[in-house]
Amino acid sequence: MNINYNQNEKVLCIEITEEIDHHAADKIRRKVDNEITRYMPRKTVFDFSRVTFMDSAGIGMIIGRYKMMKLIGGSLEIENVNESSKKILEMSGILKIIPISELKMA
């Protein structure tokens, strides 16, 4: 996981580099919550360009962070989502509340 905080724009960018299952989601959750509490960003962006796998644990993890950002008056976005992750996000209905951008194939 690579974390980058833009002080000027108050944007926290989290590049997830592992497969998001129940095992990984626990670790991601702890780390991201730490970063959000530390920076109190205006916006948190998950970069999914290196996410090759996600199951329902990812949905729980994303909704949890969405709620947290809402609580501090910020927003959450997901970038570079691949086909299979998009399928799961769509099924969960969270695309109605969280904006995403799709991964562009080179």
């Binding site: 497969e19 299952d21 129940h22 095992h23 989601a25 626990d26 959750r29 796998f53 996600m54 199951d55 329902s56 644990a57 949905i59 729980g60 993890m61 909704i63 949890g64 086909e83 299979s84 799961i88 099924m91 969960s92």
Partner: protein
Amino acid sequence: MKSIYDNEMKLEFLSKSNNEAFARITVAAFVSQLDPTIEELADIKTAVSEAVTNCIIHGYEDCEGVVKIIGRIFANTIEIEISDTGRGIENVDLARKPLYTTKANLERSGMGFTIMESFMDEVEIESVLGLGTKIKMKKMIKKIPIEEDSLELMSLGGI
């Protein structure tokens, strides 16, 4: 003894969360002999991941047990059986409902069975309280056969 299936495999592992990736990758490797598309393979991996996670966090909760997977191939259909000998499901119909979860505190989304059902062709749940749960899933790998005629036409067209 000769199996009625074209191929069969068995896998047993401890209910540790770091085995979730091991389980889905192993099943994917077994299924790959049917030459699935990337999408079909992703669907199977996700369904296996959901079922195995259920065994670990619901079946065995805080104690450790053994998760068992049986994979069977018959023609172009893969059948996957994932079972635990944990606590069992109290109400299977309720558990199948989208967004239903008994573990909201763990940020579980309640989408596990919904994902299994929409990614696989068939999902059966057998569960006995105190004895365990068995999930049986099937998926047909829809290979599009290239007929010899069309191959011939293609080569003719190329000349």
